[in-house]
């Protein structure tokens, strides 16, 4: 694995129960220490390369997540930490949970667990570093950048539209 630079990490607590958040913080503390990889927990989206999202998306925070994501410079990687960020988890059936982080922004690495263990999280971050390197190469060579949240939204809508028409034709055929 080639780690070409020290990636900075931004953490946003979606609607998580704090369990994953304290594990994210614990992985920057001495026992697990992601600073070994040159990773620093920053508070500013404009300095960040990796976005760690915990918790599901709800109607209040979906625009906040979009905004934070769009403010991050390219190349960037998104990590969904914990099962709630992956698909809603135990709160999937709650009325105010729309689903996982990938409902609003594109996610590169999914790290399940309730709460996510720091070891799993570090493994996810190391995987994210590889993706970050790849994205950087693509960005430098072809100027390829990540989708913005509005492009991603359009893509999701398009996909939903496609599957709907497919279902319609299926229904009419049968």
């Amino acid at each position: 694995m080639r780690v070409s630079k020290s990636p900075w990490l931004l953490h946003y607590d979606g609607s998580s129960c704090n369990g994953c958040d304290i594990e994210v913080l614990a992985s920057t503390a001495p026992r697990f220490d992601v600073e070994r990889f040159g990773i620093i927990n920053t508070g500013n989206p404009k300095h960040a390369d990796i976005l760690l999202c915990t918790g599901g998306v709800n109607s209040q925070n979906k625009d906040v997540i979009r905004q934070i994501y769009d403010q991050m410079p390219d190349p960037k990687v998104v990590l969904a930490c914990g099962i709630c960020a992956c698909d809603g988890g135990i709160f999937k059936d709650c009325y105010n949970i729309l689903g996982g982080t990938d409902k609003v922004i594109p996610v590169d690495v999914y790290v399940p667990g309730c709460a996510v263990r720091p070891e799993a999280l570090i493994d996810g971050v190391v995987k994210a570093l590889e993706i970050l390197d790849e994205k950087e190469r693509a960005f430098k060579k072809e100027g390829k950048r990540s989708l913005t949240s509005s492009e991603y939204k359009a893509l999701l809508e398009e996909k939903a539209g496609e599957s709907e028409t497919k279902e319609d034709t299926d229904a009419s055929e049968s």
């Binding site: 704090n18 369990g19 958040d21 026992r31 508070g43």
Partner: protein, 360 residues
């Protein structure tokens, strides 16, 4: 000459507080005139899950109200159901529950010390306290299997026993934790630079704290001796402890109370291990709960109430939780008004806010 008023947003994504709360700070020059909180970023609608999940499975949901005070939330829910169903728990179960409760209080307070150190810009102290916290988490992991969310509680007792050898093995670890906390305490309470950031910041008098309905260490730091553990639930009735208060009423006092409570927890755990009775840790449970009950317990952050209404079916009808941070928000808004802009993170963290509990 009075300056122009402007509004500075604080959160929902902020370097100091990992949790999303939004506060509009109305500032005039460097002084905060008014703080207007707005919430709802973590609202999941968790209480409504009672109509979709079996009352036994709800224990897991209750534990996930908050990941920091998760054990207490599970305890409150289980305790309410056990009272409705008239279940008498074995003594050993009560003692082990008390030990786990105090361990989770320790981990919560040590975590808070770290966040506080981070808030006044002492990064290495943050690292130091979180290093100590890992020892507490190791004990919890050995006893329950989980680092953050334990899932050892069930209606009618505990899922599995914690052996006497393991509990005895905790004693030297507790001693080493006490020693390391003592080192940190010296920096927190006697360091001139730290003291200048804490002393006199966010003063709240005893009358005011009581009138605003504050609770937990926030209230006790203003000199009001109020602790729900004195009610004697679990094994607290058989254990000797004093309520820790401080007359300062400022951020320094809040630090002092919480650090004092860590030593108190160690002493409670020691007493529990010494007087640990033999026997089973759970009793068989039959049937469905029918009736209503309100449990009040002392969480690391203060008083928490759990109301359960059941009508003899598989699903309970209503669950309601009132959390300590919710009670402390009026106190926080009061201390924020009139403070310096640079002190806002300290004041917010000094309350030990848990937004996830508050909004559920």
């Amino acid at each position: 000459m009075a300056g122009k008023r402007s509004v500075i947003p604080f959160g929902p994504q902020h370097p100091v507080l990992p949790e999303p709360i939004h506060i509009d700070l109305v500032v005039e020059d460097e002084k905060v005139i008014e703080a207007v909180p707005s919430i709802g970023f973590v609202h999941r609608g968790l209480e409504s899950l009672v109509t979709k999940k079996d009352f036994n499975d709800m224990v897991y949901v209750a534990e996930r109200i908050c990941g920091i005070c998760s054990y207490g939330h599970g305890y409150g829910y289980v305790d309410a159901i056990e009272h409705i169903m008239n279940i008498q728990l074995p003594d050993r179960c009560d003692h082990i529950r008390t030990i786990l409760f105090e361990l989770s209080r320790m981990h919560s307070h040590i975590l808070w010390m770290g966040l506080m150190a981070d808030a006044f810009g002492f990064e290495s102290l943050f690292m130091e306290t979180w290093k100590i916290r890992e020892k507490v988490l190791d004990m919890l992991e050995a006893a329950t299997g989980g680092r953050v969310i334990f899932s050892i509680l069930k209606i009618g007792g505990l899922r599995h026993d914690v052996s006497d050898e393991m509990l005895k093995g905790f004693l030297p670890v507790l001693e080493s934790i006490e020693e390391s906390i003592r080192n940190c305490e010296n920096t927190f309470l006697n360091d001139t630079a730290v003291m200048s950031r804490l002393k006199g910041i966010g003063y709240l008098s005893a009358e005011e704290a009581a009138r605003l309905g504050c609770t937990g260490p926030f209230l006790r730091a203003s000199g009001v001796a109020f602790d729900n553990r004195l009610r004697g639930y679990a094994a607290y009735g058989k254990i000797d402890f004093d309520v820790i208060t401080s007359g300062e009423g400022d951020s320094y006092g809040r630090c002092k109370v919480r650090i004092g409570e860590i030593y108190q927890s160690v002493s409670i755990i020691r007493q529990c291990i010494e007087t640990m009775p033999e026997g089973e840790v759970s009793v068989p449970v039959k049937g469905f709960p029918n009736g209503e009950y309100m449990t009040v317990i002392e969480q690391p952050r203060g008083e928490a109430c759990y109301y359960v209404h059941a009508s003899g079916k598989k699903f309970i009808e209503r669950m309601r939780v009132r959390t300590p941070t919710f009670a402390n928000v009026p106190g926080l808004v009061k201390t924020l008004a009139g403070c310096d802009l640079a002190d806002v993170p300290i004041l917010v963290v000094a309350v030990d806010p848990c937004i996830s509990c508050t909004e559920r």
